[in-house]
């Protein structure tokens, strides 16, 4: 939980309050940060007039927990050998990650307004070659868990104690590769690996339960020898506790199925699949920012 090498603090974020103490941020601080990230997400996708707001907003508490509380990392030294790694397998959630990375101090907040533009450091889907803090390039769903597993395996081989976190969408649990990787991590008892599934129940074309139902999702992971936890993915106390349990669970990997709401935090985007891959209009951005004030 603590980072001996300059922990990432809740940085000053313009309209936000800054946190300057050395103490770990509390739930209220994290809630403030979540609101800031949501404002960034809506603003940058609106400005780009392109992107995935729904599945970005659903991940905000997960990313806030990881980047501002749980992970050991140093924004001033993105390649620090012992850093915890985070792989965003659901690459379309990039705006949320960019917001978290900017607020953590990996790059200037101003970059956010360049999302998806020519010459931008911030690609539509994460590109490790362009963006500091992006551990691995993703965008084709189903590949991230294999990558994270390889990273966790390398830590074990090198006897390093970093942990690897992977954020998966529930939809990409339909990809076969996800289960190939799950089988490998379970078989090899890779316990420095934690998966968080952003279980918002929707995929591009509609509801997961009607398109290709994943239920019972936890039982599937369990059958692949994963320790499974289920939490409210918008509750910081629940997320933080689950992440602590994952860290102390030995002998196998842990999956945290985080029940979330797609579009969370913006009333007219919540559970409205229209906003899976469609940007809000300028009027909608203004309304959203009012709600997130």
């Amino acid at each position: 939980m603590s980072n001996p090498q300059a922990p990432a603090q809740l940085a000053d974020a313009g309209a936000s309050t800054s946190l300057t103490t050395d103490q770990a941020p509390g739930v209220e601080d994290l809630q403030r940060m979540a609101r800031i990230l949501r404002r960034h997400i809506v603003t940058m996708i609106g400005r780009a007039n392109s992107g995935h707001p729904g599945g970005s907003l659903s991940t905000v508490e997960i990313l806030t927990s990881l980047y501002f509380r749980t992970m050991r990392h140093n924004p001033a030294d993105p390649q620090w050998a012992d850093r915890d790694r985070f792989v965003i397998s659901k690459g379309h959630g990039a705006p949320a990650l960019y917001a978290a990375l900017a607020e953590a101090g990996y790059f200037p907040i101003e970059w956010l307004s360049t999302l998806r533009q020519v010459d931008s450091r911030l690609q539509g889907h994460p590109d490790m070659k362009r963006t500091p803090g992006i551990e691995f390039s993703t965008g084709s769903l189903g590949q991230g868990l294999s990558i994270a597993t390889g990273m966790a395996l390398a830590a074990r081989m090198d006897q390093r104690n970093y942990r690897v976190y992977a954020l998966l969408s529930d939809g990409e649990c339909q990809e076969g590769q996800t289960w190939e990787a799950a089988m490998f991590a379970g078989h090899h008892q890779i316990d420095n690996l934690t998966v968080i599934v952003d279980n918002n129940g929707c995929q591009l074309d509609g509801l997961i339960c009607t398109i290709m139902d994943l239920d019972p999702l936890a039982a599937k992971w369990k059958a692949f020898r994963w320790h499974t936890l289920e939490v409210d993915g918008h509750s910081f106390p629940e997320l933080l506790e689950a992440l602590d349990v994952a860290r102390s669970t030995k002998g196998g990997p842990t999956v945290i199925i985080a029940h979330t709401v797609k579009g969370k935090g913006v009333s007219f985007m919540e559970n409205n699949n229209e906003f899976h891959g469609k940007a809000p209009t300028p009027e909608q951005v203004a309304r959203a920012l009012e709600e997130l004030a």
Partner: protein, 317 residues
């Protein structure tokens, strides 16, 4: 092929070299997908069990694990049959290796139709087209045990994504013991002024045999070995076209997207010359003994000789 002594298969040379590399470099990790006794990576696994992972029948995951290991500083070799190591997991190679530009060496065995009896599903004839299409990939097709060993060493020593194509059958040793493989460099196996035969892999020996046959007919054929398909040695090709005026390319691959296409692109732009092609023409092959298949599908020394004669007839005099 009588001129050359039969040596090991290129896959055997790969397996042997991996073990040597494993001793020299503790950073090397090897992955396989349940074909290690065929790809020959099992020997590395036996020697270095902590650095060898058999992922089971899960090639897509193998590529991802390789990419994650490479992103964490490892030099990773990932192996399977060429069909499974390339087309089976092409999107994983594209996004997680090529776009990420990580240090993963995909080394495939059982390429081409010389796989033989297993038939079309196991005969990879599209792999060069796929792998050469990927930005940033280096693609090598070694011809014998000597070249394979050096190509694998070059791959290990050169950061970035590689595809190395090995085969199943034992093949003639066409290089001298003091051969020095250089990435991206063609090798003039035999000088000649009338026509150039460009080849690599299994068909390089056949090209040399064809050149010997042509010599008996008074035709002086140059043989240019082209182990590195990407990046191509453009200078050697332009020189060959300028000095011999006709070029024939022979490969154990589809005509579309293989060595022949790559050579034609270079010459079309830099020094057009009449060209001939010995390759599979828009068809899959079938089960059979390797030599029977090579004969049926037109990939023999005699086919190369005929292509040379046909190309020579189109050469401006």
């Amino acid at each position: 092929m009588a001129a050359f002594p039969l040596g090991a298969s290129t896959r055997e040379a790969y397996g042997k070299t991996l073990v040597e590399l494993g001793r020299e470099n503790p950073n090397i990790v090897v992955l396989d997908a349940d074909l290690s006794s065929s790809t020959q990576t099992y020997a590395f696994g036996k020697q270095f069990p902590d650095r060898f992972f058999n992922v089971g029948l899960a090639e897509q995951n193998m590529i991802g694990i390789a990419a994650g290991l490479a992103a964490s500083g490892k030099t990773v070799f990932a192996s399977s049959f060429a069909v499974f190591a390339t087309s089976r997991c092409f999107d994983q190679i594209r996004v997680s290796i090529a776009q990420a530009h990580v240090n993963v060496k995909v080394v495939a065995s059982h390429a081409g139709i010389s796989v033989g009896e297993d038939g079309a599903s196991h005969q990879s004839i599209e792999d060069l087209s796929l792998m050469c299409s990927l930005p940033g990939f280096t693609v090598v097709v070694p011809a014998d045990e000597i070249e394979t060993s050096q190509a694998i060493r070059a791959a290990a020593a050169t950061p970035g994504p590689f595809y190395v194509r090995c085969g199943r059958p034992k093949v003639p040793v066409v290089y001298p013991p003091d051969y020095n493989f250089v990435l991206g460099q063609a090798v003039v196996m035999r000088e000649g002024r009338d026509v150039t035969l460009v080849s690599n892999g299994l068909l390089l020996a056949a090209a040399l045999e064809a050149a010997a046959a042509l010599e008996r007919e008074g035709i002086d054929a140059r043989v240019l070995s082209m182990p590195t398909v990407k990046p191509l040695d453009q200078d050697a090709l332009v020189r060959a076209a300028r000095e011999t005026g006709a070029v024939v390319v022979a490969e154990e691959h589809l005509l579309h997207g293989g060595l022949g296409s790559a050579v034609a692109q270079v010459l079309g732009e830099k020094h057009p010359a009449p060209m001939g092609f010995v390759a599979l023409r828009d068809t899959y092959a079938e089960s059979g003994k390797p030599d029977d298949l090579l004969a049926k599908y037109g990939l023999t020394a005699e086919d190369i000789r005929k292509a040379a004669l046909a190309t020579l007839r189109r050469k401006a005099t």
